[in-house]
């Protein structure tokens, strides 16, 4: 039950979830933990019932808004004075972008897959011996991150950057760091650029007739709510400015929207390469918002 709680609230009732007992950190709510344990038995060891119980609880359904005073008194939300708000695990960071861009291949199970990774990691002098990493070009390229093939000696770089353990020792609780290397990954990793492109094209195709409709569409796909007026203004300013920049020929829009500028993708009817490039920039910005990779 402590681990269930940890999954939903980001931190267990006993924070040291790998170590629960006399030498662990004491529980923040011992009665609650006991009650959950007994309830679990009383409900016939029904895990789904317990998940439902937690997510429908008043504690979980609170707002994650926090005042400075409340934050000072309870910085880690150990008193459960608000709903949890935390950055999701590395695998989900990637899956969110795949899903939002429409690229996600939802297939379940099967052998591990080889999404794009920098080739130099798998050959000497970085690797001790050459390793095989044949990048998937078909639908396997966009499988959920948990299906990524893992070499313990060469962990998948994006996941490693987002605190996924390398498998050297068992792990029931991850760190949750926030580093510039993570920003570089979600901004510049070629796979993330592919996802920004895909979201841009999907938005142009399906997002409605006006830029306003399209911004709402792209924004909702990433954070599941409509943008506010000020958010809308900021995004449409970016859209207009970059569209102008690409249209003026300061930058070649085809370089952004295609791996090979000589073979640009099929653009939606009436869309110009400059427009597709500007939408790629905007999509990339939305995919990189704190809120996009945060559970709140």
């Amino acid at each position: 039950m402590n681990r269930f709680w940890q999954a939903y609230f980001g931190i267990g009732i006993v924070s040291t979830s790998e170590d629960l007992g006399t030498q662990s950190e004491p529980p923040s709510h011992p009665e609650l933990l006991d009650w959950l344990a007994v309830e679990f038995m009383d409900r016939g060891w029904d895990m789904k019932a317990m998940h439902r119980l937690i997510v429908t609880s008043a504690s979980y359904r609170q707002s994650s808004h926090v005042t400075p005073e409340a934050y000072e008194r309870d910085p880690y939300n150990r008193l459960i004075s608000r709903a949890p708000r935390f950055r999701v695990d590395g695998e989900i960071v990637r899956d969110i972008a795949l899903e939002a861009s429409g690229l996600l291949n939802p297939k379940v199970g099967g052998p591990s897959v080889f999404p794009p990774a920098p080739a130099f990691l798998f050959v000497p002098p970085v690797s001790y011996a050459p390793k095989t990493w044949t990048v998937s070009t078909g639908p396997d390229r966009y499988r959920r991150a948990i299906y990524t093939f893992r070499y313990r000696s060469v962990p998948y770089p994006m996941l490693e950057t987002f605190d996924a353990p390398n498998g050297d020792s068992s792990c029931v609780r991850r760190a949750r760091s926030d580093t510039p290397l993570q920003a570089l990954a979600t901004l510049n990793d070629p796979l993330f650029v592919e996802m920004a492109r895909a979201l841009a094209l999907k938005t142009l195709r399906e997002g409605g007739p006006t830029d306003k409709d399209r911004l709402v569409y792209a924004f909702r796909r990433c954070v599941s709510r409509k943008p506010t007026e000020t958010e809308m203004t900021a995004l449409s300013n970016l859209l207009d400015k970059e569209q102008q920049r690409y249209a003026d020929g300061k930058l070649n829009p085809l370089e952004l929207i295609a791996d090979n500028p000589a073979q640009p993708p099929m653009l939606p009817k009436d869309a110009s390469p400059a427009q597709a490039a500007a939408w790629t920039v905007v999509s990339r910005a939305i995919l990189n918002l704190d809120e996009t990779i945060t559970k709140e």
């Binding site: 880690y76 000696s153 290397l181 910005a285």
Partner: protein
């Protein structure tokens, strides 16, 4: 694994158990200093989300602030480089005494193989009279600045376990590496570079793989970040094609302003951390190429190291290590995996020395002339030594854990000394034995940590780099 206990520790007095009382209150001054360390971390945590890499003071007075570890992976032969054995030359081609081999296990050879005399000439150098091989003419020039330890011993006789023991204090993977411990304890002085940086040169990467610089059960922010000598030094540092620095700037401005709006709504101060990370990433996009660009170094410095701009090499990495430490990077580790001479010993070790000797000596000299050697600890060595017995016809040696040589310089190390001694054949250590755990204890001591008190709680017990062993080597301290 990857616990964040340090963030929540020492907050609730009711949380003190009897065990805690006995553990922490019976150990005297060290614990007070340590408590101070935690109190500082704790105090920071209540005012703002703690930056796990913020610089921290060590609990005890320190001589060294930064570390550069030149890891000669593959294990260089002490018998060809540092530990001259005339008796070994005399008994070349003879079998070693049977009692020496009792209980001895070699990695590949039948231990009952004939002895192989040293392949190179030795001479004494400097005022200290350090005895060095003719293969190390440049190191000879800084002989009076380094401390040579001829009495290293380890427990492992294969590369991966040996490298893991040297880096993490245990032969199995999963423990935090030395660089992770040090950045965990001291944080990072650099604002736009990682605190623990790893380079790899030579023929291949180290056999221990990423676990050599892994963070084990420490938070992953403390693991080593691999830099490359060519291309993007850090993964995903360059903007995607079709995005220039103006578009990147506009994008970051938009992301920041939207993040700020969201912070206004949720009140979550963690969003400020995210905004900072993006700004740091943007700064890193210009600071890392600037750091890697050695063309601006004066010609005499490039020549001193033997570095050539644009051509990845161990020499370039040594120069970059100095540039990193100058910018506040806490721990730099250079792997040069090339020393595993089971065969072709004479040719290959010569080549390795050509590749590394000049740069190693230049690093010591360069740090010294900049006044940086006083608080930068330089460590040179591999995971074990090589057998006095022959392998591969008459031109190779097998792995040997019983005796090998390392050297250290700066950061509170006594310069111009040689400590320890191996027996007449260079087989066993006979004087001032220094186990890998003792080396770790000494390194931590120089950085201001009592190695038995520098712990991290994981799965119900306190772990340390030296596990349950290790003693500081007093002869090495200045």
């Amino acid at each position: 694994m990857n616990c964040q206990d340090h963030l929540y520790r020492s907050e609730d007095p009711k949380g003190r158990t009897r065990r805690w009382f006995f553990e922490q209150c019976a150990v005297g001054l060290g614990s007070i200093a340590l408590a101070q360390l935690f109190a500082e971390a704790g105090a920071a945590a209540t005012t703002a989300p703690a930056n796990p890499l913020a610089p921290k003071r060590p609990p005890l007075p320190a001589k060294a602030k930064n570390v550069i570890f030149l890891f000669m992976a593959g294990a260089p032969s002490h018998l060809e480089l540092f530990d001259y054995k005339p008796q070994l030359a005399k008994f070349d081609g003879k079998l070693p005494p049977a009692e020496l081999l009792k209980g001895y296990r070699a990695a590949f050879i039948n231990p009952n193989s004939t002895l192989l005399g040293p392949k190179f000439k030795f001479e004494k150098y400097g005022q200290s009279g350090a005895e060095l091989s003719e293969l190390l003419p440049h190191l000879a020039k800084v002989a009076d600045d380094i401390a040579i330890v001829k009495s290293m011993v380890t427990d492992a006789f294969n590369h991966a376990p040996g490298q893991l023991l040297m880096n993490t204090g245990t032969q199995q993977f999963g423990r935090p590496s030395m660089g992770s411990w040090v950045t965990y304890g001291l944080g990072n002085e650099s604002k736009d570079l990682p605190g623990f940086v790893v380079f790899s040169s030579g023929k291949k990467g180290p056999s221990g793989g990423n676990s050599c610089w892994g963070s084990g059960f420490l938070p992953t922010v403390y693991q080593g970040v691999q830099f490359r000598g060519s291309g993007d030094p850090v993964l995903y540092l360059s903007n995607p094609r079709g995005i220039d620095s103006d578009v990147q700037r506009d994008s970051l401005d938009t992301i920041s302003s939207l993040n700020q709006m969201r912070q206004g709504v949720t009140g979550d101060p963690e969003i400020s951390t995210r905004i900072n990370s993006f700004e740091m990433a943007y700064r890193m996009q210009s600071s890392a190429p600037e750091l890697m660009d050695v063309t601006k170094e004066p010609k005499h410095i490039l020549e001193m190291y033997g570095a050539e701009p644009g051509k990845p090499s161990f020499a370039n990495d040594c120069l970059l290590a100095r540039r990193m430490v100058e910018r506040g990077v806490r721990f730099v580790q250079l792997y040069h995996e090339a020393w595993d001479q089971h065969t072709n010993l004479v040719h290959d070790i010569k080549e390795n020395c050509v590749d590394t000797d000049r740069a190693c000596a230049a690093l010591v000299q360069d740090l010294k002339q900049r006044g940086m050697l006083d608080d930068t600890l330089v460590i040179w060595g591999g995971e074990f030594g090589r057998t006095p017995m022959v392998q591969g016809g008459n031109d190779g040696r097998d792995h040997h854990p019983n005796a090998f040589t390392m050297w250290m310089a700066g950061g509170g190390i006594k310069p111009g000394i040689t400590i320890g001694e191996s027996d007449d054949l260079g087989f066993n250590v006979i004087k001032d034995k220094v186990h890998v755990h003792d080396l770790h204890a000494t390194i931590l001591h120089l950085l201001g940590f009592e190695h038995t008190k520098f712990t991290y709680r994981f799965q119900g017990r306190n772990f340390r780099l030296t596990d349950v062993a290790g003693q500081v080597v007093p002869q090495l301290l200045a």
